[in-house]
């Protein structure tokens, strides 16, 4: 009978287990009993070095520095009463602080516990020299993240900190342990698997006086892989300085490739604070701040885009052959749509398309929107990559929102002509991220190249080559007209962004988005130089009033870039 065979097999397996137990517990029992009683196995960890991050010119933006930590082996440390007071004197801390640290981080008797971090070199050497008088005390060399540019690019880089419970449950299988340092946000989190260093260590058997008797095992620590990014840290810093703490975001990307040259979100934070216990107050301040400095506004912030959207409406109207560039509308300062009056911000008189873009005339675009209808507006917004993530290689990118008749119907609400008019000037529900706005300008500047922005260009020695971007089918004449308009926004005498740009050759579109009860958001998105576009950009200021503030900000940045020969 087959079940008989299975029984025999099961019986054999039981006998194997019993035999093995007999061997361990009876034959080798006394040896293991001795080993367990003496607690004579000890672990000495050797930390690995986390991967560095370099910018486009191989400038180090995240580095590692050596720091000294003083650890104790609980078992031995407790057996020698005098050690505690001696150590406290050397470290010049109260004994209570040391005992508290031991209690808090205790894992097991022979796993060292860090009682003092970032000890200066002199103290570390002093303790090392006196190690025979301090049984159970170890000086550990621990690499620590070092940020040469302090808080620059903090959102893009992310920070490292002690692993949290949410992450440990997910990463346990990959060998992460409770006190490991892992990446939070930005590249540190996105590329955790590459940057991560795997700690090694030695397991030794010691005698009752703590002297090494036998090395039971050794594992070399593995260093993390270095990551090179497309960022230009100099440009990044120029922009961050120009923001001067105001809330907002800015993106500069290469038009041809999608390489991100600068990605700013303001206010920023100092990433090094998260591993520094002395800065706990600063960290809790960041976590609690109503300005949410940890959020990367450039790709996680959603804002009404305002008049920047007019560029898309102009393209849609030309592509759909609803108008020719010469089509004129008269702007008396307002337009009656249905029963409601829709205002323009000025009285522009008769305008053609290029003029309407230059002056950001609302009435002209109300007319275009009504001519096109909401479906075409939605279609072109989606075509230019709005309402979906750009696919940048960073975490937490949001998709944005573009209204449509269909989604309105799903909410059982009607679409009115007034909604179409509002849609045409980017008000209402049109929500985009600053990154999407910059990419939109990149598409226009490159003649319809659907660029995917990216940040990581190299991991260790592996170059990352992004796939060739697809081309949108757009009539070159359309783009020529719209670019002409964008150029005039900045350079024509009456342009909304003309504040004297000299020979910077910038083209762009301003936008001011009304915000209920607060100051409006300001936008300035475009590209430069307009005759041979190299960079697409977007500057955004949150609740700081009209777009002119943003234009001044961009002006400041580009002038500084020019001064430093970075354009």
């Amino acid at each position: 009978m087959r079940i008989g065979n299975v029984r025999i097999l099961a019986g054999i397996l039981f006998i194997i287990l019993i035999g093995r137990l007999f061997y361990f517990q009876i034959i080798q029992g006394n040896f293991y009993y001795y080993v367990s009683n003496k607690n004579c196995i000890r672990l000495l960890p050797h930390e690995g070095v986390r991967g560095k991050i370099l910018d486009r010119h191989n400038e180090l933006i995240v580095d590692n520095r050596i720091s000294y930590a003083i650890s104790v082996l609980p078992q031995e440390f407790r057996q020698n009463a005098g050690t505690l007071s001696k150590l406290a004197v050397l470290l010049s801390t109260p004994t209570s602080k040391i005992t508290k640290a031991i209690k808090k981080d205790f894992i097991s008797s022979f796993v060292p516990i860090v009682v003092a971090k970032d000890v200066d070199k002199k103290t570390a050497f002093l303790i090392e020299e006196n190690k025979f008088e301090l049984p159970g005390v170890i000086v550990q060399i621990i690499p620590k993240r070092y940020y040469p540019y302090h808080d620059a690019a903090s959102h893009l880089l992310g920070y490292v900190a002690k692993i949290d419970t949410w992450r440990i449950t997910k990463l346990k299988d990959y060998g992460y342990k409770m006190r490991d340092i892992v990446g939070f946000g930005g590249l540190e989190e996105y590329l955790e698997h590459d940057l991560r260093a795997i700690g090694g260590g030695t397991q030794i058997q010691v005698d009752h006086r703590g002297r090494v008797q036998k090395v039971l095992g050794f594992r070399e620590p593995l260093e993390g892989r270095d990551v090179s990014v497309t960022l230009d840290i100099k440009i990044q810093r120029i922009i961050e300085d120009a923001f001067a703490g105001r809330k907002g975001a800015a993106v500069i990307m290469e038009v041809d490739t999608g390489k991100i040259i600068a990605l700013v979100s303001s206010p920023g934070f100092y990433p090094g604070a998260f591993t520094d216990s002395d800065q706990a107050e600063y960290v809790s301040g960041i976590l609690r701040s109503p300005d949410s400095p940890l959020m990367n506004r450039a790709l996680s912030g959603l804002y009404p885009v305002g008049s920047v959207f007019k560029a898309i409406v102009a393209i849609a109207a030309l592509e759909k052959r609803k108008i020719t560039p010469d089509k004129r509308y008269f702007c008396p300062g307002k337009l009656l749509v249905g029963a409601k009056e829709f205002k323009c911000w000025s009285t522009h008189g008769s305008q053609n398309l290029v003029e309407a873009l230059t002056h950001s005339c609302n009435v002209y675009f109300y007319h275009l929107a009504l001519l096109l209808g909401p479906d075409s507006l939605t279609e072109y917004a989606l075509k230019f990559g709005l309402s979906k993530p750009t696919g940048i290689d960073l975490l937490h990118e949001v998709s944005g929102y573009i209204p449509s008749v269909v989604s309105r119907r799903m909410k059982l609400r009607k679409w009115y002509d007034g909604d179409t008019a509002n849609f045409g000037i980017g008000q209402g529900d049109v929500l985009v991220t600053p990154l999407q706005a910059a990419r939109l300008m990149g598409i226009i500047a490159s003649g319809g190249k659907y660029i995917k922005p990216f940040v990581v260009r190299k991991i260790a020695d592996q170059e990352i080559i992004p796939p060739e971007a697809a081309m949108l089918t757009l009539d070159p004449a359309t783009l020529k007209t719209v670019i002409e308009g964008l150029k005039n926004v900045v350079n024509a005498e009456t342009g909304t962004a003309n504040i004297g740009w000299g020979d910077l050759r910038v083209a762009g579109k301003t936008g001011t988005a009304q915000v209920h009860t607060k100051l409006s958001h300001g936008w300035f998105a475009g590209f430069l130089p307009y005759d041979k576009p190299r960079f697409a950009f977007c500057f955004f200021l949150e609740n700081t009033g009209p777009s002119i503030n943003c234009v001044i900000l961009a002006h400041q940045v580009f002038n500084k870039m020019k001064e430093e020969n970075l354009l």
């Binding site: 009978m1 087959r2 079940i3 299975v6 029984r7 099961a10 397996l13 039981f14 194997i16 287990l17 019993i18 093995r20 137990l21 007999f22 361990f24 517990q25 009876i26 080798q28 029992g29 006394n30 040896f31 293991y32 009993y33 080993v35 367990s36 009683n37 607690n39 196995i41 672990l43 960890p45 894992i107 097991s108 008797s109 022979f110 992450r167 449950t169 997910k170 990463l171 299988d173 990959y174 060998g175 955790e192 698997h193 700690g199 090694g200 260590g201 030695t202 397991q203 039971l216 095992g217 050794f218 594992r219």
Partner: protein, 364 residues
């Protein structure tokens, strides 16, 4: 009272009590006696488990036939859900959080697959006393049933939960063997499996490769899995004949032995109760396993026969893999010790399975 009729219930009760004693011993030095501790949680699961056991030992087991496939589909959906939810971020996730309970679908997949296979192999000969020995072709005996379990199996491999996947494979082959599928077909599968192993090796995640390499040479990783094996050997060995006594183990209590409340619970059990205690525990598992086989043999109903056999097999494999892993004779693959290891899903599933086996015993 007929001891034989209650053998399974008695063994289950004693094993679960031992488990609780061990978990108490685990929290004892930490003074973590609050209700969120592993001890209290396990206590709740043990009580719920008993209720499940009693319910399933009373309701006619053939009634299960109606719900096998819906249950199977639900398990597949949950397994996919875990995969999708886990894939959104780095790292794997094996459970779904429902209140404070981390529900682990892969545990329930074991019973779903045993139910489905029992149904499949018993279907052909429902009205006959004997199974259709020898009449199953390669297609019907191996390929079709394999296709049936392929989806949950694949999802579990993808998680990646190597231990459970291997366990399911063994259960499948065992049940095919018991159903009378020709020996040469089964051998063929085993040969193909070993031939594919270099390829499968390539598919493993780094940490899984590490575990197997460490098994071959524990000293190669003194901080990770190798460390656990060394510590577990010390724990077990130091228990000698009589053990160090309850609450007196040092390896487990001083936290030398990681995972001492889940996969490595046998380590602290053996340390505190010694060789005699370990023999006693193995004896209890022996009762569960050989009773299941006996019930399978004497059952008249083919579905019941196969199911009882499948459960016996599942327990035998789990007990063997888990204990041999703590003894350093098989790789650390993360298989819990049935009814001993801490974990609600595993506990419930084992109670559920044994409840049905008890039922089969009572109804023949």
């Amino acid at each position: 009272m007929n001891i034989r009729a209650h053998a399974i219930a008695i063994a289950v009760f004693v094993i679960v009590s031992l488990s609780l004693l061990m978990l108490y011993s685990e929290i004892y030095p930490k003074h973590a006696f609050d209700t969120s501790s592993v001890f209290f949680r396990q206590l709740v699961w043990a009580v719920l488990g008993w209720i499940v056991f009693i319910i399933f030992s009373r309701i006619p087991f053939r009634g299960l036939l109606a719900v096998i496939y819906p249950f199977y589909v639900v398990i597949i959906v949950l397994l996919s859900f875990v995969l999708v939810a886990g894939a959104a971020r780095l790292g794997a996730q094996r459970w779904i959080k429902i209140w404070w309970f981390n529900f682990q679908p892969s545990e329930f997949a074991k019973i779903a697959i045993i139910l489905v296979l029992s149904h499949y192999y018993s279907r052909k000969a429902v009205n006959q006393i004997r199974l259709n020995i020898g009449s199953l072709s390669f297609l019907r005996g191996i390929v079709y049933p394999f296709l049936i379990i392929l989806v949950p199996f694949g999802l579990i491999v993808k998680q990646p939960d190597l231990g459970t996947a291997l366990l399911l494979m063994f259960i499948f082959l065992g049940m095919a063997y018991y159903s009378g599928v020709k020996m040469r077909y089964i051998l063929l599968i085993l040969v193909v499996g070993s031939a594919l192993s270099p390829f499968l090796w390539h598919c493993l995640r780094d940490y899984q490769k590490d575990r197997i390499l460490v098994f071959l040479n524990p000293n190669s990783d003194p901080l990770g899995a190798g460390y656990t094996i060394i510590q577990s050997k010390i724990a077990i060995g130091s228990g000698r004949i009589f053990g160090k006594g309850w609450l007196s183990g040092t390896q487990g209590q001083l936290n030398f032995l990681p995972e001492s409340h889940t996969d490595f619970i046998f380590g602290i059990f053996s340390e505190e109760t010694g060789f005699l205690g370990s023999l006693f525990l193995l004896g209890l598992y022996g009762v569960l396993i050989f009773e299941s086989f006996r019930i399978a043999q004497k059952a008249n109903d083919n579905f019941g026969k196969l199911f009882a056999f499948g459960i016996g097999l599942m327990l035998a494999i789990q007990v063997y893999i888990n204990i041999s892993m703590t003894l350093g004779i098989s790789p650390v693959v993360g298989v819990p010790l049935p009814l001993m290891s801490y974990g609600g899903s595993n506990m419930l599933v084992n109670f559920l399975c044994l409840g049905i086996v008890q039922n089969i015993n009572a109804r023949g």
